[in-house]
Structure formats: C-alpha cells, structure tokens
C-alpha cells in the first residue's frame, strides 16, 4: 500500500466511524455511549455535528479512533483455545470496567 492510499484509507475509516457513531447516538444515546465507550459530552458533540463538519473532521490523516483495550485484555481476548461466548462475556466485563476516554481531536472542532 502506498502512502497516499494509506492516508485515504485512514480518512475513509474516520468518516465511516463518525457517520456510524452519529447514527447510533441519534438512535439511542445511552446505548450508544455504552457501545462506543464515549462520554456524554462527546455523545452530545457528535450529535450536533453537521455533515460538512463530519467530513472535515474525518479528513485528518491520523486515525481518530483509538483501541479500547491494552495488551493484557488483547491477549486474553485473542486466546483461540477459549470458547467464543466466554470470550464475549469476558470482553464485555472488561470493557465495562474501563473509563471512557475523550478523543482528543474532537475538542478542536467544537468551536
């Protein structure tokens, strides 16, 4: 993959994420906050973004979304010898115990 292709893929992923996140927040705010692992403030902000703002925000060459787990959790969850439904349960318990972190770039956009 060449660098321009890579950049364009990142932008596509950002855009897809933001569109989906906004849809989820508008459909059911509380559920979206749990599923996305974001704060109420961030959910409110995503809700108010216009399509133009979403496109602008997504056009960053850096990934806007961060992984929700550290290496301990990743190791546990990618363990292939365990039952899939148990891993699902474990993931859900571990995600719920984590604090939700704000994504940095959004704060710049809100003005």
């Amino acid at each position: 993959m060449t660098t321009p292709e890579l950049m364009s893929s990142i932008r596509d992923t950002n855009l897809a994420y933001l569109i989906l996140a906004q849809q989820m927040v508008r459909q059911d705010r509380a559920t979206a906050i749990y599923r996305l692992g974001i704060s109420v403030e961030l959910a409110d902000l995503i809700d108010t973004l216009s399509p133009a703002q979403i496109v602008r925000l997504a056009s960053s060459n850096l990934m806007l979304v961060r992984l929700r787990f550290d290496e301990t959790i990743a190791g546990l969850l990618s363990n292939l010898s365990k039952d899939r439904s148990l891993i699902q349960a474990h993931a859900s318990i571990l995600f719920a115990a984590q604090p939700c972190e704000p994504m940095a770039p959004l704060n710049d956009m809100s003005s």
């Binding site: 509380a30 109420v40 301990t72 349960a89 571990l94 719920a96 115990a97």
Partner: protein, 189 residues
C-alpha cells in the same frame, strides 16, 4: 403517589408492557410502576395469555456466586454501572437498557431462556444497593466480578481466568454446537 394524568398513565402502561415482554414478574411491576395490581394482572394476561407465576421471589444471594450465573450477572452489572456512571441514566430505565444490552452481549440459544432473567437482574441491583452483594477485582484480568459483601480479599481470580474443572464440559460430550457453559443447575424463572 403522584397526581395521575392520562399521559402519565399511558407511559406507565408502556413501561409495564415492556417489562412484561422481557419477562418481569408481578413483584417487579408493582414496585417499579404506579399501576394498580388489578391493572397489572390484566395487562399481564393480555400480553402473555397466562396468569403471572405466584409465590415469592428467590431471596438468596448465593445464585449469583455460582460459576455461570456469576459470569452472566457480572456482565449485566458491568453494563448497568457503566450506564449509571457515564450515560446519566438511573432507576428502572437503567435496568431496562442494561438488560437489553446484556441480552445483546449474551444472546440465549434459540430455544432457551436467558441465564439471567429480568427479574433476577432487578433483584441483583437491589442486593447490590443494599450491600448484600459487592464486586471484587480479578487479580489477573482486572475485571469486576460479583462476590458476597464483606468477603476478605486475598488472591482473587475470576471464573473466566480460572474456570472450575468441570466448567462447560457437559455439552461438549454431547457434540452439540459451540456454546457450552452448562455447569449451573439453577433453574430459570
């Protein structure tokens, strides 16, 4: 009780219907809605076609400690507390939303009931609020798991990091599909 309005009444009926569809028992309905017992009974029969089961709700906290129920209840409690902390929900709304999300995370087999029923989930929150149950952090994965209150803390390992030897063995022998946690003998209600 508060002043009754038609729209308030309608909201209560909608809430009660949703709870009944998810399997709530009468005690839960009576305590979480403002509708009279007679109306709840009628609503229950309309929606389910049968009278609600009679008798008391189980009052033991032990069910939540055995292996499979503990995992399911910990999933539910984790979601519930997340919604309380981060989504500004409270009361029965939080229980309902958390229960729906729990069903999504741990969908029951097509012909089976969910391991944690809505009434059990509601009871769990009451036990938790009254400090009869508490949570402990697993030393290995740092997940929060339900435990008896005031249990001494030394070398806690959760049922997922260290499943008991017999956990999930039954169905594998039967060569049935992949979901196989079946150690609990507790019946659903």
């Amino acid at each position: 009780m508060t002043v009754r309005t038609v729209s308030g009444d309608a909201q209560q009926i909608l809430l009660a219907s949703e709870l009944i569809r998810l399997g709530a028992r009468l005690q839960l309905l009576e305590s979480e809605t403002t509708l009279s017992r007679e109306r709840l009974l009628k609503l229950y029969k309309e929606l389910r076609g049968v009278s609600p089961p009679k008798g008391m709700l189980p009052f033991s906290t032990d069910w939540f400690i055995s292996w499979q129920p503990n995992i399911h209840a910990s999933v539910f409690l984790g979601i519930y507390r997340y919604l309380l902390d981060h989504a500004r929900l409270s009361g029965i709304d939080a229980v309902l939303k958390a229960y729906r999300l729990y069903l999504e995370q741990m969908p029951p087999e097509p012909s089976e009931q969910p391991v944690l029923s809505l009434t059990r989930a509601w009871t769990l929150i009451r036990f938790f609020d009254n400090r009869m149950l508490s949570v402990q952090r697993c030393d290995i994965c740092h997940g929060q798991f339900i435990s008896h209150a005031f249990q001494p803390r030394c070398g806690t390992r959760c049922g997922l990091c260290h499943p008991p030897a017999r956990a999930g063995k039954r169905k594998r022998i039967d060569k049935t599909a992949e979901v196989d946690y079946s150690i609990s003998s507790g019946s659903n209600w």
